[in-house]
């Protein structure tokens, strides 16, 4: 199994797709962070656009930008399995590993690990930009206060788990374009609406789980007011989504003939 996981990690590293996903997730992170830096404490029409950096919520917002690109980890996971079908490399993959659930398990682990690594990259870039910005603006420069460790650690974990969920979803849907449309449509439309309209349901959805793990709302707005699971509950929920998708896929789409 370790050999299979290592092979999957090499598969990811040996094409340039991951670079694109990394660039996109970093781009979103920097965009979110840029907004915070530009607007924190700035007066607009006589009112502060965002509370000043002395407000703990703003500090949290700076660091929460690290998780702005989690959706790209889901897309990375989706491509990780649907790409095998798209390029017909699935034949070779199943020739090497004819017990198909083992390949799927190795991919789940590999993409989780890769997602964690991406999370670390996003966190490092966020800290590298946020810390000096906060210092310049006179905010807290402590990485231990204001829930910052939870936000950053949670981001790393959430990114790993999102890649895993994407992999399970991709295995189930098989078609790359369809799976990406489902993921993006779900996250950007269905979930965005449900989170606001029915927060009690929203907390059980993937984005709600990310909010629970990172203890921060993605983007703007008061995350504190929404129903939110405990952090461990959020992590367990994402893991459950990924594993449930993968398990259903194992007994349905993954068993299909490869012709």
């Amino acid at each position: 199994m370790i050999a299979l996981v290592r092979a999957e990690l090499l598969k990811i590293r040996s094409t340039r797709m991951w670079l694109g996903m990394l660039a996109l997730s970093l781009g979103f992170t920097l965009l979110g962070l840029g907004f915070y830096i530009a607007l924190a404490g700035v007066e607009m029409n006589g009112e502060a656009a965002l509370p000043p950096v002395t407000d703990p919520a703003t500090v949290r917002g700076f660091y929460a930008a690290a998780s702005a690109g989690t959706l790209f980890m889901m897309i990375l996971g989706i491509i990780g399995i649907t790409g095998e079908y798209r390029y017909q490399t699935i034949t070779q993959a199943f020739l090497v590993t004819p017990r198909r659930y083992r390949l799927l398990a190795a991919k789940l682990v590999a993409y989780f690990l890769f997602g964690l690594a991406f999370g670390v990259a996003n966190v490092l870039v966020t800290v590298a930009v946020a810390l000096p910005a906060l210092a310049v603006k006179g905010g807290s420069t402590s990485l231990l206060d204001n829930d910052v460790p939870t936000i950053l650690g949670g981001t790393v974990l959430a990114m790993g788990l999102y890649a895993l969920v994407g992999l399970g979803l991709g295995a189930l849907v098989r078609n790359q374009v369809a799976a990406i449309i489902v993921a993006v449509g779900w996250a950007q439309l269905v979930e965005a609406i449900l989170t606001v309209a029915l927060p009690s349901v929203g907390q059980w959805l993937p984005a709600g789980a990310v909010r629970a793990i990172t203890r921060a709302n993605i983007g703007f707005g008061g995350g504190g007011e929404l129903d939110t699971l405990p952090a461990w509950g959020g992590a367990a929920l994402l893991l459950a989504y990924g594993l449930a998708f993968a398990a259903i896929a194992t007994f349905t789409t993954v068993r299909r003939d490869i012709t």
Binding site: A3, L4, R6, A7, E8, L10, K11, S14, T15, R16, M17, G83, Y87, Q88, T89, T91, Q92, A93, F94, L95, V96, T97, P98, R99, R255, D257, I258, T259
Partner: protein, 296 residues
């Protein structure tokens, strides 16, 4: 040893493979021949656990592919429509297979060299020609030096030199004791290497015989001689039908041994003796067309 027993596969109403049985033995190149759509690819994919049979069995050394321990080391396979990630280099493709199956990565450069891809090893497969992809598929198949080789239309896209090389390569492997099963829809690709042929049409075996037997049935022999008139007369006496064209005699009704005896009797020097290629091609066509219910 490859054993296929009463193998059947239905895709909805399509009987792609219909009660197929045959064996491929070690030390032999077994040609798996048939027109397009005959069910060759489906059969090979069932052998390799990629397609689930509707009924019947397909075994490699007595086991199902999926039950083999470290299958890549036991069976090498290169299948039609096997893809490569266009953004991955040839070497990385092979390294991934090594890692996943626990094979040492030392063999990678060796098989790349063996298949003539040494110079392309670091290039992304997206820029490869069809022939180069076939070579890479072959390199993947032989990566772990498996004793069983299953190749689906490996000559597709190869240039003449590549096809020549492939023949020699398969011959060499079989002579070393490998079981080689190679499919083709072009008889000419197989007739010079195969020891045994299994001809399929519409999912059924229409012929399963040593190649020599099939060649023997072909419509006649080509005989070139320095003494055509004398030999033609002798062959005529031996009961053969002879058509003379300069120093070339097209003979039917007499086998190669018969021609040899006639040549000895006539004191004729032979400069060429072989099966009429078009005759063998015709036999193949007749066998498959008969099954398809049409005229050759």
């Amino acid at each position: 040893m490859i054993l296929v027993e009463e193998l059947t596969k239905h895709f909805g109403p399509v009987r792609a493979v219909d009660g197929l049985s045959f064996a491929a033995r070690p030390g032999e190149v077994t040609g798996f021949l048939g027109p397009n759509g005959a069910g060759k690819t489906t059969t090979l994919r069932m052998l390799l656990g990629l397609v689930a049979p509707t009924s019947g069995r397909a075994l490699i050394d007595g086991e199902r592919y999926a039950d083999l321990d470290r299958p890549v080391a036991r069976v090498g396979a290169a299948l039609e429509a096997t893809g490569f990630h266009p953004g991955r280099t040839a070497r990385d493709h092979l390294r991934v297979v090594c890692r996943a199956s626990g094979i040492a990565e030392d063999g990678v450069d060796e098989v790349l060299g063996l298949t003539g891809l040494a110079d392309a090893a670091g290039r992304r497969v997206g820029g490869f020609s069809l022939g180069m992809r076939q070579r890479l598929a072959l390199a993947t198949a032989v990566l772990a030096r498996p004793p069983v080789l299953i190749l689906d239309e490996p000559a597709n896209g190869l240039d003449p030199a590549g096809i020549h090389w492939l023949r020699g390569f398969l011959r060499h492997l079989a002579d070393g004791g490998c079981t080689v099963l190679v499919s083709s829809h072009v008889l000419a690709e197989v007739e010079q290497t195969a020891d045994h042929v299994v001809i399929v049409a519409r999912g059924k075996v229409v012929r399963d015989a040593p190649l020599a037997e099939l060649v023997g049935e072909a419509d006649g022999l080509r005989v070139r001689t320095e003494h055509p008139a004398e030999l033609a007369a002798e062959l005529d006496r031996a009961g053969g039908a002879v058509h003379r064209d300069g120093d070339l005699l097209r003979v039917s009704g007499v086998d190669a041994a018969g021609v040899g005896r006639a040549a000895l009797a006539a004191g004729a020097v032979l400069t060429e003796l072989g099966a009429e290629r078009s005759g063998l091609e015709k036999t193949f066509l007749e066998l498959t067309m008969a099954e398809l219910g049409g005229d050759p």
